[in-house]
Symmetry: C2
Subunit: 199 residues, 2 copies
């Protein structure tokens, strides 16, 4: 038993399975927590416990919340007819941090993928189409990743909404703010060039 106690070893093993961590970083984190155990570690344990019991998916949009319907879905100020479709809750959070979008969301929970046999029903796309119709949505922004699967999914949803009178848009592609051309992939540079605008 190299690492202190059975509990410490189990804690390191569990931490090491978290995304981005491994045995080495898990050991460093656990040691740091033990050093300040009085405060941080107890607080972390309590928060993990309460988040574990209270967190669930918003029944409307799929955002993570501690109620049946998330704060965004029940905010009357956000019923502006716009719905932003994202792949993942992390993308919703990133958009909210940007504070540029004031409508509502729909989290797909993935993308269409022939390889992984994920079809429209697996992502609840029929339910999304119903929601767009029922809630009198006027614009659907497909904020999906600029990957092959993300763009395939965006095209599928855009086609399913054809003729419905809803405006379907996507995020602009181009050079990220602060981005150095030298470090961007060729596809991004070409897309930015094609979408060039007058200054």
């Amino acid at each position: 038993m190299a690492e202190g106690s059975d509990d410490i070893q189990a804690l390191i093993a569990l931490m090491a399975r978290l995304p981005g961590l491994g045995p080495r970083s898990a050991r460093r984190i656990v040691l740091a927590l033990i050093r300040k155990r009085g405060g941080q570690m107890t607080q972390l344990a309590q928060l993990l416990g309460s988040v574990a019991t209270s967190s669930r998916e918003c029944l409307i949009c799929g955002n993570i919340t501690d109620r049946d319907e998330c704060a965004i879905c029940i905010d009357p100020a956000r019923a502006n007819g716009e719905i932003c479709v994202v792949e993942d809750v992390a993308d919703l959070w990133a958009l909210e941090r940007g504070r540029a979008f004031r409508g509502r969301y729909h989290v797909l929970g993935g993308t269409l993928s022939a390889l992984d046999e994920i079809g429209p029903d697996d992502l609840g796309i029929p339910a999304l189409i119903d929601r767009i119709r029922d809630q009198r949505i006027t614009e659907v922004i497909l904020a999906l990743n600029a990957t092959v699967d993300g763009q395939t999914t965006a095209h599928y949803i855009a086609e399913a909404l054809e003729g419905s009178g809803v405006a379907v848009t996507g995020l602009a592609q181009g050079v990220p703010i602060g981005g150095e051309l030298d470090y961007l992939d060729d596809g991004t540079i070409s897309a930015a060039l094609r979408a060039r605008r007058k200054l």
Copy 2:
């Protein structure tokens, strides 16, 4: 409130302060935990709680343990007269994983540092000298980091033990196993060259 709930935000903020993590990696980890909350998150909360309450420093060597004296210090098979002095508990764990050392340890909890005003008393070096004398230690292995402060500390301890009859040794320096010369710093290459051995 971009991130789900106040508890989730607090959890992310706390996680982001752990060594090697930041807001981005903390968000990814918390999202992954929420997705499998039933199992992993509750288990993690419980383990953190129990480690926080039960972990403490071994009264003899400074290792992390859940008893007054750690498993290494009470193992009669390890009373072989050898004591290995390390800077940090993480170093002790690393040596134990290597399974090459079968004696006991002493964790300094740091190194001598003029800059940070850390002297011999702050590291409990007088207590270490007493321990070496009382426990009839025959060899002291100074497994300190190959940094300036680590080596200063090693020299200080070696001098303090001069004339005591105890053999004082240090780890061999050289090319790590699998190490490519091209990627090593010059100091390591020079040290490995000076310590070259016949094949």
